[in-house]
Amino acid sequence: MTTVSPNLALYLSIAIYAIAAGLVFLSLLTRRETLQRFATAAVMGGFVTHTIWIGTICSTTHHPPLTNLPEAASFLAWLLVVVELGLLFRYKVQAAAFFVYPLVVILLATAAIVSEPFAPPTPEQSSKIFIGHLLLTLIGIAALLIGLAFGALYQMQDRAMKAKKRGALYDWIPNLRVLDLVSYRSMVLGFAVYSAGILAGVLYAYNRHGALTSFSAKELGALVAWVAFAAILQSHLSGTFRTKKTAGVALVAFLAIVVSIFGIDRG
């Protein structure tokens, strides 16, 4: 059996993203905006090697990079970078990088450390419903995480403006309307796709095991995350998303997502 030996592209990606994350935090300390431009350039470089790594998985295993934790973590990190770069160029929101870059480094480092064997798809894993479940869930998670990052920025800026005290990121965070728009749209899109992904998973489980769920950590995490994200969306609709309660629910959603990701291929 071939093993996932984290190749040069993966190590390079981790190193480059780590440099980018270091640069954005350094820019916070030195207040030098130039460092953020270097960080963006670094992330673009990291994205190239990251794409090579994703391509390597696909060409080696002949299936999408979804079937175990290293693959899914790498793919999720890749999606996050795609969305982050897209939003960066569209809205010039550098501040989201403070959340997204470290998360990307953690996900890729997880892929390198776990180093599970490649999982050639079993016949049941080759089913379209299963692949659809994994793909939709990961895309949904990426959009929801971006929504959480922008929501966190919104809360920070809202509090800074209310308290009339400028936080460290004040100048680099865009206006509240953009933050609200990006956060809300990412949440709506992410929630819809994530729900479809979970539904596909339930269908797959029912077809395969004759039960809707096996109450594994992964499944419970996904369920808690779904409920938490639904609550956050509801708070957006009712106009109460600025509250501390919503911030707490967002934290729960994030932790539940982490549990569900780490539960991939582990029951």
Partner: protein, 420 residues
């Protein structure tokens, strides 16, 4: 060519003297033409704003201060001695640095203010139209405008608002982004309120509703802003439609209450509201700050924002000065090279004249030659003069960056080769 800048500004001269020295639009020719008719002065330009009157001249000698001071004193109706103590005279490097700093807003009363850039551009245009710029002043102005643009882009020195109305605009943009499509409610007719509304309108705000106890005044103000007037007792109802509320009245109690804003927020369902209280005593209930989606700033809060931004601009000024110092060095080098060019061209022409004359003499003595032979002789003689000119030209170029040494070398080479 030497550059000299002579002038007064808000730090060196009182307003009484500045207004006497000021050169009004359309009368620049009365100053620049007489200066350019002075033998030593090759070009001149003037920058005259409410904070400064400066004359920059390009000359062959350093001895041009007296006529400039006399001209300024004559215009001010004073004796030259009485204005001298207020004047600063900056030579070459200092003059260039000063021009760059002025155009970048670093020498302004409010650091980083953008108007001065346009005023320097106007002064360039006027001198250009009057044909009082020589090549050195042309180059100086072009470079000055380039440096000012670079400083503003790279440091963002003018980005932070340093006045109360601009601070309000900056905060509104931090909440709503673009102001187009927004609606403001101006309550009262206080001067600061009017000014703030004017700035918001200038930054894209769509509509303004003015409510005032004296309805006539509300109608007059609304007319000025292209908005509508509303009765003072409808303020509560107007809040539900307003994105920005500016209150500036002399009322001794709260004109906008927390209950009114809460009701307005419920009616709106979504969307933030930015309330600006410019009144003393305060006219907006401070409890409004606790309502979700309501951002309340009073006059002290806005002053603090403006003060914090001033400190930021000072920080950026240091960064700007470092850029300017590098630009001054580069420009001096360019000017010096420009000074060396006439000597280099003249030297090449002189040697070519010698070559041509000697070649003619030689060919006459030799009698008929074939085309190939003539070509060979041409190549030989051209090669010789190029070799002779090579080191002097290299030295002229190398010494260009050191003004005094460059002048000595240019003089020596001109003497040795008998150049004019």
């Amino acid at each position: 060519m030497t550059l000299t800048l002579i002038g007064v500004n808000h730090r060196t001269a009182p307003v009484e003297l500045r207004e006497r020295l000021s050169i009004s639009k359309g009368s620049e020719a009365d100053v620049l033409r007489p200066l350019c008719s002075n033998g030593g002065i090759r070009g001149s330009a003037v920058i005259s704003t409410c904070n400064r009157v400066e004359i920059v001249v390009s000359s062959e000698s350093d001895n041009i201060i007296e006529p400039v001071v006399e001209l300024l004193a004559e215009r001010a109706g004073r004796e030259p001695e009485s204005i001298e103590k207020h004047l600063y005279v900056l030579r070459h490097r200092d003059a260039i640095r000063h021009m760059f700093r002025v155009a970048s807003g670093l020498d302004s009363m409010v650091i980083g203010e953008p108007q001065i850039g346009g005023q320097v551009r106007d002064s360039y245009q006027i001198a250009k139209n009057l044909d009082t710029l020589d090549s050195t002043l042309y180059a100086l102005y072009e470079q000055t405008l380039h440096v000012a643009k670079r400083v503003r882009t790279e440091t963002g020195i003018g980005e932070h608002a340093v006045s109360i109305p601009f601070a309000a605009v900056e905060l509104a943009k931090k909440i709503f982004g673009e102001l187009s499509g927004l609606r403001a409610l101006l309550v009262g007719a206080g001067e600061m309120g009017e000014l703030t509304a004017e700035h918001l309108k200038g930054n894209g705000l769509d509509s303004i509703v003015v409510a005032n106890r004296a309805f006539d005044k509300a109608v007059e103000l609304a007319g000025r802003f292209g908005g509508t007037a509303a009765a003072f007792d409808t303020v509560g109802e107007q809040l539900a439609q307003a994105d920005i509320v500016i209150v500036s009245t002399a009322a001794p109690n709260y004109t906008v209450t927390a209950e009114q804003v809460s009701a307005a927020m419920n009616e709106r369902r979504r969307g933030d509201i930015f309330l600006i209280d410019l009144s003393v005593p305060r006219n907006i209930d401070p409890a409004i700050a606790d309502i979700e989606g309501a951002y309340l700033y009073n006059i002290d809060d806005l002053s603090e924002v403006a003060e914090a931004n001033k400190a930021k601009r000072l920080e950026k000024a240091g960064q700007a000065d470092r850029i300017i110092e590098k630009e001054v060095d580069a420009f001096l080098k360019r000017l010096a090279t420009q000074d060396a060019v006439p000597t280099i061209v003249e030297l090449q022409r002189r040697l070519e004249d010698i070559r041509q004359a000697e070649l003619e003499k030689c060919l006459r003595r030799m009698g008929p030659v074939t085309a190939e032979q003539r070509q060979a002789i041409e190549a030989l003689t051209t090669g010789i003069i190029n070799k002779v000119a090579h080191y002097p030209i290299i030295r002229l170029r190398e010494s260009a960056s050191a003004p005094h040494e460059g002048e000595t070398i240019r003089e020596t080479i001109r003497k040795i080769f008998g150049l004019r």
